[in-house]
């Protein structure tokens, strides 16, 4: 958007700031002669000779719209459309003060106002744009303080809600972690149980094998004993038969 504004460059003027009584009918006229412009992210960097000035969006839009033909109200509306920020009349005047201080306006439209946060919308290059833009939009001089306060309250509420949400997320995370721990413990216990059970089962199987083997051994032993008994009986019968036969002379 700023690039588009700067394509329609303001009327060039090389006049020096007024040194005598401030003119009252002058419409703002940007000084562009001898300057180069570069749009960098959300700011416009104006280089005139060795001097470099960074204009943040509101100031950049007001600068671009200061063609010596537009009224203050037209500039205000144009700046709102260009930046998307609400821009009131005191903001336009304060930005024009700052532009005039940076010698980017051919003549002051009004006598300068005191120090305001909006002085920061026109600054030496190398500043943090986002922070300054936030200040510029929340600290407009002469703003409706009820609205500003309401806006600040809204922002505070939003921050509070965000904190609550983060806390809730944190709580959820903690619960989840606890649940995971519980699950791991449970699985670990289950795993141990399974191992134990398996070991028990194995032990049981082993016992059964032993019993089987023992049984086989017992059977074998019993069988062996039975065989032994049969053999012993046969042997005894044979000895008895031997005693009943007559001796041969």
């Amino acid at each position: 958007m700023l690039s588009a504004l700067f394509l329609a460059a303001p009327v060039a003027s090389a006049e020096e700031p007024a040194k005598t009584i401030v003119p009252t009918s002058t419409l703002p006229t940007a000084k562009t002669e001898g300057s180069t412009f570069a749009v960098e992210d959300d700011a416009v960097v104006v280089t005139t000779g060795k001097s470099t000035v960074r204009l943040h969006p509101i100031a950049a839009a007001i600068f671009a719209l200061s063609d010596g033909k537009r009224s203050i109200d037209a500039i205000r509306k144009g700046a709102e459309e260009a930046t998307g920020y609400p821009v009131d009349e005191p903001t336009v005047f304060a930005a024009l003060d700052a532009l005039a201080d940076a010698k980017l306006i051919s003549a002051r439209v009004t006598p300068p106002g005191g120090e305001t946060e909006l002085d920061l919308v026109v600054v030496a290059d190398g500043t943090d744009a986002k922070e300054l833009v936030a200040k510029a939009t929340s600290k407009s001089p002469g703003a409706d303080w009820t609205k500003v306060k309401a806006s600040e309250e809204k922002a505070k509420r939003a921050v509070s809600e965000k904190h609550k949400s983060e806390a809730a997320e944190k709580r959820t995370d903690t619960k989840l972690k606890a649940a995971e721990e519980d699950r791991k413990k449970a699985f670990s216990a289950y795993g141990a149980g399974r191992v134990k059970q398996e070991q028990a089962l194995k032990a049981k199987t082993a016992k059964a094998g032993d019993e089987k083997m023992l049984g086989a051994q017992r059977t074998a032993a019993e069988s062996a004993a039975k065989s032994e008994r049969v053999l012993r009986k046969k042997l005894a019968l044979r000895e008895m038969d031997k005693k009943k036969q007559p001796q041969k002379l």
Partner: protein
């Protein structure tokens, strides 16, 4: 129980005291005048709880009596006692701090030519206003139209008298509005046109220049300015430049509110007493003021 209104007097304008007394009488409020110069500062001189207090006098003696009498249970135009005891030492900076537009000003403690030239450029060029504190009715406010005049003035004030005057931007062709704030309302405004052969303004003698219907843009600025000084009553001076830009000059407390009654027939004392009665009632029920 009869409500009590205490008025600290020490050479306050007669009309001011009379209008306050009349407003009290019409509301069945007992009016008690306290003479600052003969005040004794005894424990028994303290005010009964929920009394109302206003100091229309500007003398140091009157201020000291006010400081002695103010308590948390006394109704006044200060939001709390701290606001009275820690009075604002830098009212203009405080106005700037809350985002209100004041004419740019720079304190001057030297007369070096390059420093002065830089100051003048920052103020938008000549003419510039040179102001020394303490005066009333425009006394102590001077205009320098050129560097020779400015240097001569500052030589006298800075080098000769050891003062630190303020240089401020001159707002040409502006209309000076006085807006009177009582509580949360701007109750009156009137114009102060520039006198012939002068650059300073005086209250209009035309009753049509006085109105209780304060334009919204003046009212909101005046209320914000009064609150910034931690006050609930004040006479706020605003300048409207032909471009429409509004500047806050200062908040006067106490202020000569009688001008609105005498010049334009507007009742200010009545709303003042009503506001103090409301504060007193809030104190009785421990509600916030």
């Amino acid at each position: 129980m009869t409500a009590l209104f205490h008025c600290i007097d020490d050479g306050a304008p007669e009309e001011t005291v009379r209008l306050l007394a009349e407003a009290c009488a019409s509301r069945s409020v007992e009016f008690r005048a306290i003479e600052a110069s003969t005040f004794r500062y005894r424990p028994q001189d303290r005010l009964p709880p929920h009394s109302m207090l206003y100091r229309p006098a500007v003398s140091r003696a009157a201020q000291l009596v006010e400081e002695f009498l103010l308590r948390d249970d006394v109704a006044s135009f200060y939001p709390d006692v701290d606001a009275a005891l820690f009075s604002c030492g830098a009212p203009r900076r405080q106005l700037e701090r809350v985002g209100l537009t004041v004419p740019r000003s720079i304190p001057v403690a030297c007369t070096d030519a390059p420093v002065l030239a830089d100051h003048v450029e920052r103020l938008g060029g000549f003419p510039v206003i040179v102001k020394i504190g303490g005066g009333e009715g425009g006394i102590g406010v001077m205009r320098a139209d050129s560097m020779p005049v400015l240097r001569a003035l500052l030589d006298h004030l800075v080098r000769g008298q050891g003062q630190v005057p303020e240089l401020s931007a001159y707002v040409p062709d502006a209309m000076h509005h006085r807006v009177i704030v009582v509580g949360d309302r701007a109750v009156a405004t009137y114009e102060n046109p520039i006198e012939p052969d002068d650059f300073r303004s005086k209250p209009s003698e035309d009753p049509a220049a006085y109105t209780a219907d304060v334009p919204a843009e003046l009212a909101s600025l005046a209320l914000a300015a009064t609150r910034s000084q931690r006050l609930r009553f004040g006479g706020v001076d605003l300048l409207r430049h032909p471009s429409g830009r509004l500047y806050v000059l200062e908040v006067n407390f106490p202020c000569f509110f009688a001008q609105a009654t005498l010049g334009g027939g507007l009742d200010i004392a009545g709303p003042m007493i009503d506001e103090l009665l409301a504060v007193s009632a809030a104190l009785r029920t421990n509600r916030p003021r």
